[in-house]
């Protein structure tokens, strides 16, 4: 494969028991030094090819296919039928459930990000306090993040059930005679689901990222602030928060996208979008339309809207962060 004589010579030293990987690393090193840059790039791309093929075939291709399919009517049997903008007209006409679903999606995403970022930051701050047992606490906080969502959903069902659930039992024990129906009250269900995001994998990840960021804040700043008599809240507001603001922005963006994308895995097993459409978000509706009702065209149109929503929201967060994020740290 590598035809440049210098490179071949260099590579040949590693024949034998050294192993393929050990042999390839100096080959690349040699290639990048000796070969023309274009050729070296080509080789690098060749090695990337399997991943690129996977990306194009299983991610890029379907994403691109969604757009034309959103202008069709298709139930997966036979060929898609071109219907122009009819799917979008149906969505935006306001006759169906589209607008309440978009509203639910935004409400859930914003509340979910708020809950997960605040929770993970809170836990990370506690960990950085170096209190006894902080490591154990961190492990316990991270543990639910590795439980499969479907198992967690069943456990939460048992905890949150209005009549037989443990949470309402405790609330009744402390004198609250009419605790909420966490999963079946349309005014409460979305907030419950947003609160459940603290048990997700990405909230655990956020905690670790915050923890690492907090450890990077120079200790001198805290010492100086303490000598000046600054309160804990002032230190947090004027030192910690600005110093970790790039990481905070990163977590908010990632958290927002994850909340939108992962909403299905939390909501579907817990409420299936109900009661009524009270907890139906776009991802749940896309699944129902695509794989339960086989309205592939309409589901694709919804996916396009979800994509646009993600992109616009991310741009908005970046725009908002321009004046708030401190990159000098």
């Amino acid at each position: 494969m590598l035809r440049t004589p210098h490179v071949l010579n260099h590579c040949s030293k590693y024949d034998g028991d050294e192993g393929l990987l050990k042999a390839l690393i100096p080959c690349f090193w040699a290639a990048s030094n000796v070969m023309p840059r274009r050729r070296a790039n080509l080789i690098a791309y060749l090695f990337l090819l399997p991943w690129i093929i996977g990306l194009v075939a299983f991610v890029g291709g379907p994403i691109i296919a969604i757009l034309p399919l959103s202008f069709t009517s298709w139930n997966l049997l036979g060929a898609p039928r071109w219907i122009g903008l009819r799917n979008y007209v149906e969505m935006f006409s306001g006759r169906g459930d589209f607008w309440p679903i978009v509203f639910n999606t935004l409400k859930y995403a914003i509340a979910g990000v708020f809950v997960s970022v605040i929770w993970s930051l809170f836990i990370a701050l506690l960990l950085n306090r170096r209190v006894p047992g902080a490591g154990l606490a961190a492990s316990l906080c991270f543990a639910p993040a590795v439980v499969p969502y479907i198992a967690m959903a069943f456990a939460l069902q048992l905890l949150l059930r209005a009549d037989l659930g443990v949470i309402n039992y405790w609330l009744k024990c402390v004198g609250i005679q009419h605790p909420p129906d966490w999963l079946m009250d349309p005014d409460v269900v979305l907030w419950t689901l947003a609160a459940v995001t603290i048990y997700t994998y990405y909230t655990g990840q956020m905690m670790l990222i915050f923890d690492a960021a907090l450890k990077q804040v120079p200790k001198e700043l805290y010492e100086v602030a303490s000598l000046d008599g600054a309160s804990s809240l002032t230190i947090f507001r004027h030192i910690t928060l600005p110093m970790i603001s790039p990481i905070l922005l990163f977590n908010v963006v990632i958290g927002f996208l994850n909340t939108l994308n992962m909403s299905f895995t939390i909501i579907y097993p817990l409420t299936a979008g109900g009661p009524g459409k009270a907890s139906t978000v776009l991802s749940v509706d896309i699944y129902n339309n695509a794989f339960k009702g086989f309205r592939i065209g309409y589901a694709c149109a919804e996916a396009v809207i979800l994509f646009v929503l993600c992109a616009l929201s991310t741009l908005f967060i970046f725009w908002l962060s321009k004046r708030r994020v401190y990159y000098e740290a």
């Binding site: 139930n75 049997l77 009549d163 009702g293 309205r295």
Partner: protein
């Protein structure tokens, strides 16, 4: 010499001199039953010239996977299609009519199948599939709780009023006992809507609900408010985290006949099954099945029919029914009475034929988005979030969006 003979035999075998084995591809959402009820193995033993290449498809993804197979031209020779899919696949030309095969069969007769088979055939203008077996819905009841209150057990003459009266009498808030559990399985809603007088699917094949649904929802909401029926708390597609009936906290429950496989191990109380109650003499029950069908592009159509014919034979049906704990789709065999007899119930398997007499495919002939969202709204009614009239009108509106206005029967109160 010995080696030469073996070599020759191998060569001849590879050229198919000993008779070519026909491979029939077959897909199903249920794993094949264990021996001795493995009907595929039985078929292969009986007809060694055929080999079944079986594909198990996860139930949750079954219809979607079959459609993907159709789109990629990889459908198996023998399909077992769900109610709505048989309509769609036949319409799209993916499966062939079976009328010719059936007329040539020595022991299969359309009149011997559960009546709903003929109903669908007439609606489709041809026979595109034969039900491999069926399941239905029944009323489960806790005999101990009935005995405690001295209330006679439900029977086939029970009316809706009898049900309500008994449910009220059986409710005991102090003991945390409900007269009836909340509706968990979506099909029950449609059974009761049909029983309350709506056609569900009319003669023109339109989605048709209205007054019956509104009346039912009003009554059920009232009973839920009174605490006679438990408040709904369901998961996706009808799975509940807590089963009040199994826990002995609900005296009655409407559910699928397949729940007998779970309840058979109940030891805490005696229980049984009964036909669902009637309203003005009307009982409407849904049946669940898969229809054996033949892929239009199959190269082994006759062999595929041979396999289907075997599965629907007395022997094949006995294996399927016992292995899968469901009921034979052939009336002459179903009357033999097959069912689970658990520790404390059930015994009244005679309830099932009563249900079948009034059995329809009903809501199952429509795409699931038509009825799934409607069911979500019915739950919302029970929780007092929306009115019965709103739920019905929303169901009709949604059906119009999905099916087209001409495929939905009008209901005057809905604009």
């Amino acid at each position: 010499m010995k080696r030469l003979v073996i070599l020759l035999a191998c060569v001849l075998a590879s050229f198919g001199v000993f008779g070519e084995q026909i491979v029939i591809k077959y897909a199903h959402w249920n794993a094949l039953p264990e021996d001795p009820f493995n009907y595929v193995k039985a078929f292969e033993t009986l007809y060694p010239q055929y080999k079944i290449d079986f594909t198990l498809i996860a139930e949750a993804e079954y219809p979607a996977t079959l459609r993907q197979m159709a789109a990629t031209d990889t459908l198996p020779d023998v399909l077992c299609l769900w109610e709505h899919d048989i309509v769609e696949f036949a319409k799209a030309g993916y499966v062939i009519p079976l009328d010719k095969y059936l007329s040539q069969s020595k022991f299969l007769n359309i009149d011997d199948f559960i009546p709903a088979t003929k109903e669908l055939m007439e609606m489709q203008g041809g026979l595109y599939g034969l039900p491999w077996c069926y399941a239905t819905h029944v009323l489960y009841y806790n005999k101990d709780l009935f005995d405690k209150k001295g209330i006679p057990y439900p029977n086939e003459n029970w009316t809706w009023d009898d049900f309500v009266k008994a449910a009220r009498a059986l409710t005991d808030p102090a003991a945390g006992i409900y007269g009836c559990d909340a509706i968990v399985f979506h099909g029950i809603w449609w059974d009761l809507i049909g029983t309350f007088g709506d056609p569900i699917i009319d003669e023109q094949g339109r989605f048709a609900i209205g007054g019956g649904a509104e009346k039912l929802l009003t009554e059920l909401y009232q009973l839920t408010q009174e605490g006679v029926i438990a408040k709904p708390a369901t998961l996706a597609m009808g799975a509940a985290a807590v089963d009040l009936f199994a826990a002995g906290k609900a005296a009655m429950k409407f559910d699928g006949s397949w729940m007998t496989t779970q309840y058979k191990d109940i030891t805490a109380f005696a229980w049984d099954i009964a036909p669902t109650p009637t309203v003005d003499g009307r009982r409407y029950v849904h049946l669940h099945t898969g229809f054996f069908a033949i892929n239009a592009k199959s190269k082994v159509k006759d062999a595929a029919w041979k396999f289907i014919e075997f599965c629907l034979s007395h022997f094949g049906q006995t294996l399927i029914v016992r292995g899968e704990t469901i009921f034979s789709s052939r009336a002459s065999l179903a009357s033999h009475g097959e069912g689970i007899y658990g520790i404390k119930g059930p015994t009244n398997w005679a309830a099932v034929p009563v249900q079948v007499e009034n059995g329809h495919w009903g809501y199952l002939l429509f795409p699931s988005t038509v009825w799934m969202d409607a069911v979500n709204d019915f739950y919302a009614v029970m929780l007092g979030n929306i009115s019965p009239a709103t739920a019905v009108c929303r169901a009709i509106d949604r059906a119009k969006d999905i099916l087209g206005a001409d495929k939905v029967a009008p209901y005057a109160p809905c604009p």
